[in-house]
Amino acid sequence: MKQTHAPTAETTSQGDWDDYIKAYYEKPASFKSWSGYDLKEIYTPEDRPGENYKKNSADAGTYPYTRGIHANMFRGRLWTKREVVGIGSPADTHARLKYLSQQGGSGLNTIADVTYEMGLDADHPWAIDEVGLTGVNITSIKDMETLTKDIPLDKVSWSLITASTAASVTMAQYVAVAQDAGYDVGILRGSIQNDPIHFRYCGFRPACPLDLSIKLGSDVMEYCTRNMPKWYYTTVNMYDLREQGITAPQEVAFGFGIAMCYIDELIRRGLDIDEFAPRFTFYVSCHVDIFEEVAKIRAARRMWARLMKEKYGAKNPRSMQFRFAVHTAGCSLVPQQPYNNMIRIAYEALAAVLGGVQSLHCCSYDEPMCLPTEKAHLQALRTQQILAYETGVTNVADPLGGSYYVESLTDKIEEESLKVMNQVEEVGGMEEAIRTEWLDRQFESEAVKRQKELDKGEKLMVGVNVFTTEQEKTTPLGVQKISSSSAKQQVAEVKELKRTRDMDRLNDAIKRLQDDANDGKNLIPAMIEATKALGTTGELLGTVREVFGYPYDPMESIESPFNF
């Protein structure tokens, strides 16, 4: 066992016992929060002079919702235990969904793979090698039928994780399948991630040009506002931003900045803030500093309420409520001593619940090694269940409210987030910050800082820079393999579908999509029809991309098969 963080050494002749003796005298390495704020020895009423409870905190369920969006929080309903699933083919993914539902999962949650997010069909030359490796590719309505087979769409709550411009197609595919099965789409419950702006920072820039991101992202939001009143049509993804290495206040500020890009567009289209804001949701990271994460969530709730009321003039309380899902921080996990990840995940999940989360995904312990095995997935779900059913954290709303420390830290995160929001304003607003790559530079410099903190031992991580051991030879609960035969089969099925479909019907549907795009109409209705005509993800997006002046294929290796 190697200890790089050495406390004051007490010399001894006891040889092997030196480490033991040193450890006895140990102090923490730092008194900073994860985001780098100096913390005091103790917090007292003097840290919050002139505290106005009703104005800044208020009871849960009351503006500005610092303490939670529901008065009774988990007493009314537990958070949704929603583990992300996306493995191999639609059929493989369906099988894992079924397994988790039998184990007590309470929300379906499926994630697109890189090929689908990029808007590529499974038979695209860039997709063939990678289809199904990181999620599921839905090339056509047939794949969506396989994924949703036998699932009562009118009763479940389904979270569809497609974030890029392909989210517009996912929405169309889901609606098309539901309509074909005879469901009234007005009663469907669930959410779609649909945050293409942020997704350029996750490697999907070719699929997410800024104007098309705002256009298609807002089309989904507008369509759902008018047709699917129970559907949450965006999950603004603060989590992925945080994974870039930024601090807690930056996560809030950049996330809100991106949310406002969509809000401003929807208002420009003539929607009233109270028509759509109640369906806005967020995807938040919970990193390993428990109190800072709880403070961040509390600050975000207060800031969102004020932003909606004061800047946008919202009147409906639901517009002011910051609703969010948490994904425990993948970047806080390491392959060294992999069992330790379960403990990190449990602390992060605790922070999410103490913060009043609506829906939770716990990472599986094998996140930094492979897709979750069935056993690892189950362990992640069990982590949530132990929290929900054993620990008592569900009894009381905002249990950390009133803590001198947490209240002070909430104020601090709010103050720092507002500073970052002002910085964004100073560079010309979020769209400008994106266009000029100001935001890229923030991510890159913060990520380097995080690595240096570990390199220098300013932040300690067990198994990484303290208490290191030999590399393990095996992964404790096995390794999830992706079946190359199911990928091959999916590719073959897509090729067969393209060969056998009714081309006249498809051409008409694609032509209508193209016309609607040229006319500046909302494209979701035409996408639903094109999906039913067996148009594929790549074909629908490619057609729209060309109208907006982008290459049909984001990878620029294939041409449009349509010629009007």
Binding site: V114, D129, T134, C202, G203, R205, P335, Q451, V464, I482
Partner: protein, 133 residues
């Protein structure tokens, strides 16, 4: 001290994987450690990687994999290197891998695998110790 030629490193993503935080951070920190770094960026194929490595005459190729694509692309990169007779170069990989895959990757031709959670010093030292003068 005699002027020493800077070690030249090519860092790249392979295929569609968009997780580029690690590749960018490693690129920055290798530069700070005195190496010359060419970061090729995303959406590279084995052909474009080896072409760039030859054009730049690098000493090290660093492949970044975080989407489970390492066993698919590694043999293709190695084949491409052999095809171009560009084999006298250190081939390293970084990212997220199960422990079981590390010997497989080494068998395929990777000289050293750095998993997530590696400290910069371990990468810098390895390169300094293994790039031939």
């Amino acid at each position: 001290m005699a002027e020493k030629k800077k070690i030249k490193v090519l860092v790249t993503k392979v295929g569609l994987d968009g997780h580029d935080r690690g590749a960018k951070v490693v690129s920055s920190l290798l530069k700070e450690a005195g190496m010359e770094v060419i970061y090729l960026g995303m959406f590279q194929r084995p052909e474009s990687i080896v072409r760039a490595a030859i054009d730049e005459d690098v000493d090290v190729i660093g492949l970044s994999y975080l989407s489970g694509e390492h066993l698919i692309f590694t043999p293709k990169v190695v084949d491409e290197m052999k095809k171009n007779n560009f084999v006298d170069v250190l081939l390293i990989a970084g990212g997220t891998f199960p422990a079981e895959d590390i010997p497989i990757m080494e068998e395929m031709g990777i000289d050293k695998v750095f998993r997530a959670g590696s400290l910069t010093e371990s990468i810098v030292d390895y390169i300094n110790d293994h790039v031939e003068e």
